[in-house]
Every structure is written in structure tokens, then in C-alpha cells.
């Protein structure tokens, strides 16, 4: 009895602490920034950041930046994920395709996508294609590997049962193998969501004309530290929302559980 009561009291306290955690740190940040022990140009208080963000939104630039970044991430993710799933199914299912492609993919995969920025600039200049390329590159290998492994882990009994029932090859790949590997694929896709944001940063830092990271860089050049921090917060919030919504989506994707 008393143990139960004590643990529920501890629980209530920890909920309270969790709710107050962010406001408390923000308040402390505000106090420290205003106390005069730090340079407010380099370390502005949250109120300054909030004003910068409000101005960013009011000017209409925020929406344009958001859309530019979102479009890059979404398109890159879609193309990279689709390619990763299709090739992952083929290399996972067919030995010959795997022998052909897997060695190449395993060599290319560990190279951090950011390292490709110089060559992407040589190839594509500052065009959107180059940015798309970076995001696709980052997403593709993660999704490919997860799919490849997932396909090899598909219950052999399911494949044999499907074979016995006369399942044609296209249906075998697009239904039995794909859905059999889906739990693995969704894990890969979720990792790829955060990777697509990492590569977005590299892509926009390399030179862009709009975008959240581009805005951060411009603000840095103008010493608008409040705007830089606001940009970081926006980026953090965006990738957090993307990750959470993907997690919810992924749970629905494996609908039979």
C-alpha cells in the first residue's frame, strides 16, 4: 500500500518536473543573458530570439524558407526511399543482383553524404538538382540496407506457402516480400528521416537562395544571433515533428499487428 502511494507520488512529481523543465531552462537563460556576465550580441536572451522569429514570420520569409527546405527534404526522401526499397527487394531476393550491386553499395554507403558537397557543386553548381542529389544519396543507402536485410529475414515458410499457392513473381515481390520485410523497412525509413535533415543542412550550407539553414547562415553573416538561434529552433522543431509523424505513420503501416 504505502509503496504504491509513494511511487504514485514520485510519478506525479516527475510529471511536474517534466512540464516545468523547458520553461525553467528558458527562464534561466533569460536571467543569465540579461545579467551582463555574457555578451548579448553573441548570446541573446530568449526574448530577443522570439522577436527575431516573429519578425521572420511577419516578413513572409519564414514561410518561403520553410517551403524551400521542406520541398527538398520531401522530394529527396521520396526518391531515395523508393529507390532504396526497390533495389533492396531486388538485392535481397536475387543473389545475382546482390552480387552485382551489394559490393558497390557497401563501398559507397559509409562515405558521409556531406563529403559529397564539393563534387556536387562541381557537377550541379548551386542548382536544386545538386541539393536533391545529396538528400537522395543520404536516404537511399539507409533504406536500401534496411530493406535488403529485411527481405532476407522474411519468414521462408511464408514464401514457400505463397509459392505453393501459385503466387506469380510480381505479386511475390510486391506483396509477400515487401510486407514480410515491412517491419525492417519502416525502421530504415525512420532513420532516413533524420538523415534527410542532416543532408539538408549540408545542401543548404553549400549555397542556396532560400531555406531554413540558408537563413541561419545569412543571419550569421549579419551577426543576427537571435535569428540564428530562431532558425536552429525552427529546424529542430521541424525535424522533431517529421520524426514523430513518421513514427505514428510507421505504426499504422504494419497494420496487422
Amino acid at each position: 500500500m504505502s509503496v504504491g502511494r509513494r511511487s504514485s507520488a514520485t510519478e506525479r512529481l516527475s510529471v511536474l518536473v517534466a512540464v516545468l523543465s523547458v520553461p525553467a531552462f528558458t527562464g534561466m537563460w533569460e536571467l543569465v543573458a540579461r545579467s551582463g556576465i555574457v555578451n548579448t550580441v553573441l548570446f541573446p536572451p530568449p526574448s530577443t530570439v522570439a522577436v527575431a522569429v516573429l519578425e521572420w514570420i511577419r516578413s513572409g520569409q519564414f514561410f518561403a524558407d520553410l517551403m524551400a527546405s521542406l520541398a527538398r527534404v520531401a522530394a529527396g526522401f521520396a526518391i531515395g526511399a523508393a529507390g532504396g526499397i526497390v533495389l533492396g527487394i531486388l538485392t535481397g531476393r536475387f543473389r545475382l543482383v546482390s552480387s552485382l550491386l551489394s559490393p558497390l553499395f557497401h563501398i559507397l554507403r559509409p562515405i558521409p553524404p556531406i563529403a559529397f558537397v564539393p563534387i556536387v557543386i562541381l557537377w550541379f553548381g548551386l542548382s536544386e538538382t545538386g541539393k536533391l542529389f545529396l538528400v537522395v544519396w543520404g536516404v537511399f543507402f539507409t533504406v536500401w540496407l534496411a530493406t535488403h536485410i529485411g527481405v532476407q529475414k522474411v519468414d521462408r515458410g511464408l514464401i514457400r506457402a505463397a509459392q505453393m499457392l501459385g503466387t506469380p513473381q510480381p505479386q511475390m515481390l510486391s506483396e509477400i516480400v515487401l510486407l514480410g520485410a515491412l517491419p525492417y523497412i519502416t525502421v530504415g525509413l525512420r532513420t532516413a528521416v533524420s538523415i534527410s535533415f542532416y543532408t539538408l543542412v549540408a545542401a543548404e550550407l553549400a549555397g542556396a537562395f532560400a531555406g531554413i539553414v540558408y537563413r541561419i547562415e545569412i543571419a550569421q553573416q549579419n551577426m543576427q544571433t537571435g535569428q540564428v538561434m530562431g532558425g536552429l529552433a525552427a529546424l529542430g522543431l521541424l525535424s522533431f515533428v517529421a520524426d514523430r509523424s513518421f513514427a505514428i505513420l510507421a505504426e499504422r503501416a504494419v497494420w496487422w499487428r
Binding site: 519468414d155 506457402a161 505453393m164 499457392l165 501459385g166
Partner: protein, 288 residues
Amino acid sequence: MTPSLLRPDQPLRLVDTYPPSAAARQAIIRVEDLSIVFDAPSGQVIAVDRVSLAVAQGEFVSIVGPSGCGKSTLLNAMAGLERPFGGQVLMAGEAMRKPRPEIGMVFQQPHLFPWKSVRRNIAHGPRALGKPKAEALRIADGLIEMIGLTRFASAYPHTLSGGMQQRVAIARALANQPSVLLMDEPFGALDAQTRAVMQDNLLELRERINATIVFVTHDIDEAILLSDRVLIMSAGPGRILRDLQVSLPRPRTSAIVAEAAYLALKRDCLDLIRSEGRRAFEQMEIKT
């Protein structure tokens, strides 16, 4: 007292008929000198060792043998799922190299598609063979009724008990109306009552669809009750030890197991299996 199915003028015969030369001529399944070898970490394992057998059109043949003797492997080879190391499997005169939809298989595990409801699992085969959706679902609904799972038609496999899953697996195999049905301990996971009902269903079904059935089981009662012939396999490496004709009149029901003549047949089978089982166990002891 249930009336006797055995008439006194029909004596029980226990005949060793291998090689079944008469049956072989009209055989739909012919296994010729079949060997299956697996590569295991500890070296090569001979799962099936030069097995030959023939099953006539419409015949019901059971395979009985100690655990690990290669029954599942033999059945998989008949299904075209296992590549022969030596010899071959002929189905209607054609060598089995890959699975064919006219040969149905019920595996030892249900292997239902987890993302499909009971109804869609059963409809999978007809759909895969190009039947329209409505027709496939109609076939499925009829079979769901037969296995007594109408209430669970839209349930997903993981919400069913092991026995219910196995009934769905049987219905799924029947949906393609196979001419040959291979069944690997299909009733192993069922309780005694459901098992008896399913056995009667299978006997009745067989009269209706006239399928050739090869049936693996551990249960000698079940083997004698259902079969025209019982093949007894030796302990691994798997070979066929005896080929016993079950000359009990049909139609049979589960009541048959109380007959004296039946019991004599069963005792003979059990003696054979018991000595083989002991040998298998001793072999395992020596190996490890």
C-alpha cells in the same frame, strides 16, 4: 455399442506391398531413388536416403516415422520445394522442379500471411491464379464454413489459436482445388475433439474431391483410420522401412479404433515404430 465397420468375412490384412508394381503403373506420384542432403554447420546431413515410393491416383497414403527422420523433407521434395541431391520426384509423369498450384500443401506450421484476414488468406490462392475477387471470396467463405470459423472470417491470424490457424492453413490449401494434397502433421496442434472432427471432415472431403493425399503424422491411430497405405520410415537417414496396406472397409469413422482387428494392426505398427524410435534415440546419443 457402435455397429462394427468390419464384417467378419473381411479379414484384416497386413500386407507388405513394396514395390507396389500394380499401383506404380497408374501412379500419379512417383518418388524414384530420392536423396536429399542439407549443408549444416556440422557437415552434410542426409535427410532422405534413396527413397522410392509410388502413390496411385486417389490414394490416401500416410507417412509415419520418428522425429527428424526426414518426413517433412520428403514432403517438401514432393512439393517441388527441395532440390533432390539424387533421384527425382515425378508428378503425373513430370519431374518436379518447382511448386505447382495443382499440388496443395499444408505445412507443419500454419505459415499464414500475417497481414491478411482469415478470409483473404484463404482467397489468396484463387486470386493468385487469376480468379476474380468476388469468386475468390465466395470460395473462401465456403471453406471458412467448413472449418467452422465463420465468426473469425475477418480476424487476423495472430488473434487465432494455433489449432484455428492450422484449420485456416488447410482451407487455404484446399481453395485451389488441388489434385494432390500434401499434409505435414496438419492436426498435430489440435485438441482431441477438433482433431476427430477434422479427421471426419477430411475423410468426407476426400470422397467428394477425389484428391490424392499424402499425409505425415505421428499418430498411428490417425494414420490407420485415414489411409489406404501406411509407410513407416526408419530413423535418420530417412528410408522407407515398411509399406503396409490398410485393408479396412470404407467409409470409416473414428469408432474404428475400438475394433480388435484394428488393434492388432496398430500393435504391429507400434512395435515397428518403437524399435525404430529406440534406434533413432541411440543414434542421436552416439552422435552427440
